[in-house]
């Protein structure tokens, strides 16, 4: 029996499971990070305490969240999704926070001068200006999450990591490649899509400055 007839459909399912983990956890992480980042940016004077804390959390590898939640929540998809969502929060949170704090004061001043309220200024001026930075964080989170989702199979929950793990354990190179290549392609495609999104969201003034 050829490799494809034996594993073809299994790979197909694994790709979807993997993609499901990534999309759900990054979406949750994105919303949480955006809310947290916007709230934190309202108290800029604490920035020098908040930023290092976020950076420290960012150095924690995804496997730690998966492992710890596995011990607490047991073996279920929610474990993986929660762990990856927590992991995905930090790069987006940091970029949202930094992006909002980096908005030039003159724009905020101008917004106030036009009679915008604090909220209007935040949502119509500051957030759009910070968007390229925020999307940069989203890209980082997504790429890393595809990478850490491979570990879902470590606690027996499938995804493309299953092929890689079994391949390594049984010395079966074909299986390793069957897991690794789709995972690599998935990461590349997702990052390309986010790059596209980033280009579209770039405010006109900035785009001109880049060119």
């Amino acid at each position: 029996m050829s490799f494809w007839t034996m594993y073809g459909s299994k790979i197909f399912i694994a790709v979807w499971v993997h993609l499901f983990y990534v999309l759900v956890s990054v979406s949750i992480g994105f919303v949480v990070a955006l809310v947290l980042g916007i709230s934190l940016s309202q108290v800029p004077k604490y920035a020098k305490y908040i930023l290092p804390v976020i950076s420290v959390f960012q150095t924690i590898p995804g496997i730690v969240f998966i492992g710890m939640l596995f011990l607490i929540m047991g073996m279920q998809s929610a474990t993986v999704i929660t762990a990856l969502a927590i992991y995905a929060v930090f790069p987006i949170l940091k970029n949202t926070y930094v992006g909002l704090l980096d908005v030039d004061y003159q724009y905020i001043e101008a917004a106030r001068g036009c009679g915008m309220s604090r909220m209007q200024s935040l949502f119509e001026v500051e957030l759009p200006l910070a968007m390229p930075t925020i999307i940069g964080g989203l890209r980082m989170s997504t790429v890393y999450t595809v990478s850490w989702a491979v570990l879902a199979s470590m606690i027996g929950l499938g995804g493309l990591g299953e092929f890689i793990y079994i391949g390594i354990a049984t010395n079966n190179n074909a299986l390793i490649v069957a897991g690794a290549i789709p995972a690599a392609i998935m990461a590349i495609i997702l990052s390309l899509l986010i790059d596209k999104l980033k280009k579209r969201l770039e405010p006109g003034s900035r785009r001109r400055a880049v060119l």
């Binding site: 496997i63 730690v64 990478s147």
Partner: protein, 202 residues
């Protein structure tokens, strides 16, 4: 948790940074001097970094077998991007006046690169090195899966035998290592940039 595991992790990270520099620096210089291949080089190292770490290590393992060699090769491919990118950007950022002056006093291309351009670009290259090092500390936890040991083995074992303390101790060591590297290198980096500023104002 034994000291050996921490040292093993440290060893993997240092080897990875050493070889990424040895490979990345020439690639960055090449990208700078040779615009036709610049895009290709930057694109390739970027894609290498996007590939999930375990997928990369798995594919490298197919060729080189399990062990430290595979880990180092995989991690080097993974951490090329910041070094190549910053080398190229750093060299490009040197003021045209300085480059012109170097050419004007009759320095050859190689002399210009070694005595003028690389030293001036060095702070930027060092920033790339710092990013690569801190990333490598984290990614090296995958080493254990392809038989390379390190702190990942503690965390993995902690998960297998369901020992929270073990997971946490491994994580703590890892985070401390990353922060130490980051802080020390950021300090050096600051000094380097200050030095560069002084040179420029003179």
């Amino acid at each position: 948790m034994s000291v050996t595991v921490i040292l093993e992790h440290l060893y993997i990270v240092l080897m990875c940074v050493l070889f990424s520099t040895l490979v990345g620096l020439p690639l960055g210089i090449m990208a700078y001097y040779w615009p036709p291949v610049r895009k290709a080089i930057l694109r390739v190292v970027e894609i290498l970094q996007i590939i999930p770490a375990l997928a990369m290590l798995g594919m490298v393992m197919v060729i080189f077998g399990a062990g430290k060699l595979t880990v180092v090769i995989g991690l080097v491919l993974y951490s090329l991007l910041p070094i190549v990118h910053n080398t190229c950007i750093g060299l490009e950022g040197i003021s045209p006046g300085i480059k012109e002056a170097a050419r004007g006093v009759g320095l050859s291309k190689v002399d210009r690169l070694l005595t003028i351009e690389l030293p001036l670009a060095f702070p930027m290259v060092f920033t790339g090195l710092r990013i690569a090092t801190v990333t490598a500390v984290g990614v090296a936890v995958f080493a254990t899966t392809v038989g390379g040991g390190g702190l990942g083995s503690i965390i993995n074992r902690g998960i297998r035998i369901q020992n929270m303390q073990m997971i946490l101790s491994g994580t703590l060591a890892l985070v401390v290592m990353a922060i130490l590297f980051d802080t020390v290198m950021a300090f050096v980096e600051k000094k380097l940039y200050q030095g560069a500023d002084i040179r420029r104002t003179k």
